[in-house]
Structure formats: C-alpha cells, structure tokens
Symmetry: C2
Subunit: 241 residues, 2 copies
Amino acid sequence: MNQVEVCFSPPLFDEFAKTNSIVVVVDIFRATSAIVTAFQHGAKSFIPVSTIKEAKELKAQGFLAGGERNGEVVKGFEFGNSPFSYMSEKIKDREIALTTTNGTRAINIAAKGADTVLIGAFLNLQALANHLQTQGKDVIIFCAGWKDRFNMEDSLFAGALTNLLLNSGKFYSDCDSANASSLVYRTGRKNLMSFLKNCSHRKRLTHLNLEKDVEYCLQRDITDVIPVLRDGKLVTLICRH
Amino acid sequence: MNQVEVCFSPPLFDEFAKTNSIVVVVDIFRATSAIVTAFQHGAKSFIPVSTIKEAKELKAQGFLAGGERNGEVVKGFEFGNSPFSYMSEKIKDREIALTTTNGTRAINIAAKGADTVLIGAFLNLQALANHLQTQGKDVIIFCAGWKDRFNMEDSLFAGALTNLLLNSGKFYSDCDSANASSLVYRTGRKNLMSFLKNCSHRKRLTHLNLEKDVEYCLQRDITDVIPVLRDGKLVTLICRH
C-alpha cells in the first residue's frame, strides 16, 4: 500500500517533500488547467519560470511566452493563464515559457523535493488517477493555493483525486489534509460551481469576468494528457501500462 | 461587520497577521485545552516559551514548569500538556513556564502579528464567541497544527467558532479556510470523537494511551475563562460587557 497526502499551500511543502514519491501540482484557477489544455492542443513543452524577466529572456530566444500576475496577462506576452488562450494552432509543437502567480512557483518548489512532478487538473483527473495506481509510489497532492493561502478549488481537486486513489484499494492515508479535502469534495461534488459560490478566489475571478474560465476548469476528464516535469521542462508523459 | 479568518498552520500565519485584529490560538490536543483548564483551576499566569532551556531557567527562578515534546512530559517538569495534570491545588496562584511542541510556538508567533492574542479550546468556546462579538475587531483563528501540518481537531474548533461568529450576524468571511473549517465542523459536530477516528494525530494520541485526554478536550463550554496574552504572559481576561 502507498500513501496519499495533501499539502494545502507552498509554505507547508517542506514537511511533505520526500524521495521516491510522486508530487501532483494543482492550480485549478488556472495555471495547471491551462497547461493541460495546451498539451491537449499540441504544445511541445513548457518551461515554468518564477519571474517575468526569465520568461522575457526565453521569449527573446524564440519561445512563446505565457505570463499572469494577479489574474491578468503580462503585457507583451502571447498568453496569460486562461485555458482558452491555449486552444490555438499557433502553439502546435512550440515551447512556451510560463510564469504565473502561484502555479509555476509551486511547480518549481515541487521540483526540489520529489523524484517525479506531474500536473493535475479536473480536466485530466481520471487519467492521472489511473496512472498513479500503476506506479507503486507515495503520492503528494500539492495545492498551489492563492498567494500562500489555502484555497477551496485546489482542495476540491485534492479531495477528488484522494477519493479515486483510496477507492482503488492501492492507497491509504493518515493525512488530515487528505481526509479534510476528501470530505469537502464529497460535500461539493454534485455541483462544484455552486459549491464554490462562497469562495474568495472565485469571487475574484468573477470580478475579472472569468466565469467562462471557471466553468471550463471545473470540467472532469476531457483529456488523457498528463504533463510531467523532465529536466526543468514540462512535457507530456507517455504512459505504458 | 468584521471578518473572521482561519489560519491552518504556523508557516501560513504571516499572510494573516495584521494590526487591529484579535488572534485566537488553538491547539486542542492539548496545549490550549490544558491552559484553559489550568486557569479554571486557579493558575495565576503562564509564560509560553519556545525551548526547554528557557522553561528550566524560569523553573530555577521559582516558576512551576510545564513541558511537552512529541506528546510526552519533559523530564523533571511538574506538568506536560495533559489538562488533568493541571487540575490540582498546587497550581493555585502560581506562575507556570510552559513549552510545547506546537501550542506555545504558535502563541509566540501570534504575539508578533496581532494586537490581542486569546487562547481558545472547545472548553471555553461559547465564552470566547460571546466576547469576540463585543469587540468590533477582525478575528483570526490560528490553528497550531501538528509540526507545521494542518490537523483536523484544530480545524474542527476553527469551524465551530467560525459558525458561532457568522451566526451572530456581526461577522462575515471571504476566507476559504474559514469556509472549509465550517463545513468540516458541520459534518462532524454530532460526534466529534467518532469523526476524529480517522485522524493521524488522534491515532498518535491513542498510541500514547491518551484517550481520556482526547475525550476531555472535546467537551464544550465547561468554563467561561478566557486566557489573554499581556506583556508576554498569559493571564485571565476580565470581561466587562
């Protein structure tokens, strides 16, 4: 049996980091949903960088650039973190430098504390669960949160994935965060959209007129793509089960 | 209207710290339950210290000493953090130096980021809620957690207090952690003991043969005592409503 644990926010990740584990990074609104969408539409790779400066340097070298700060697209960049912006012919076989407020930071933190870093979203939830069940490794679901705070949407995803793994019979959990996430998901799963109506971050997205993005990011299982970090680049995992 | 927010773990507290707010520190198993119990039984004050060395120095100056590491009493100290050890005549009007794995650390972190630091437990829940409703200040419920991790019992308390404050009509919350805690509490409140049966920390306490302590700490409203931090010392708050 392997364990599944949930880390609610980047400052807590040190307590979870361990060798021989798989970390699933999640930033539902919207970085990891956008990354999954981009690969589904043919992107070749993402380089997650922490600063706008780094992304600009890569852009100057011929990369496409995606960047978001406080929910808004960085000026001069091709993409922000709206999944819709990545549904485009122009990303096919291209490499993209990406920097976002929470998501890329969490990916880079995870890279230092795990053998394998995968990217999760509701969009690839079942594919991810299927893959993790074949790996024989402990799993840490790492919520990017919102500016180092716990957020509801990432925890809902953590609960959904925890439930699938526990139900497979191949995982157990002694982790209170995993148990709490699972409970929150079981309460909200019938209508995630309406469940999230009281969440601060979703209110913020509504304010930015991103209702359509929120709805898109809450869809389950629309792709089998699983992004994986290899040598500092996200590429698509080729699964051989 | 004032806001109520919940901080799940010490490394997240920086994001919550603000002036003109009241921080309620909670470490249900068992530091804050023990502190409340000690005041109920006549203790004069507590000095929360971070290290065993500091507690020993105060003990040498005539203080009683309470200390716990990993759930066990520090060798040579009068008390650990079992509430039962403080139900004693010998604490009457005495000053106690206290150091615990999670609770006293959280108290000292809170002291740097708030005007007012209060001590919460299920034992004084309603008294605390009544007091907070008269203060006209934002409230941050600060869960001590377990070694920097989220834990279920502190979050259950956070949810219980959040509910009481929201129901008073004097508070609102945009905080996802407060909403999640409230939901977890509403799910578990009918039988906290059975709800906690799957929690890692409670399992640990069972292992240490502390079932009796767990049961005691989950009792609601057995005292009106509210400990408050004044100049580095915890004393009882005299409420004038």
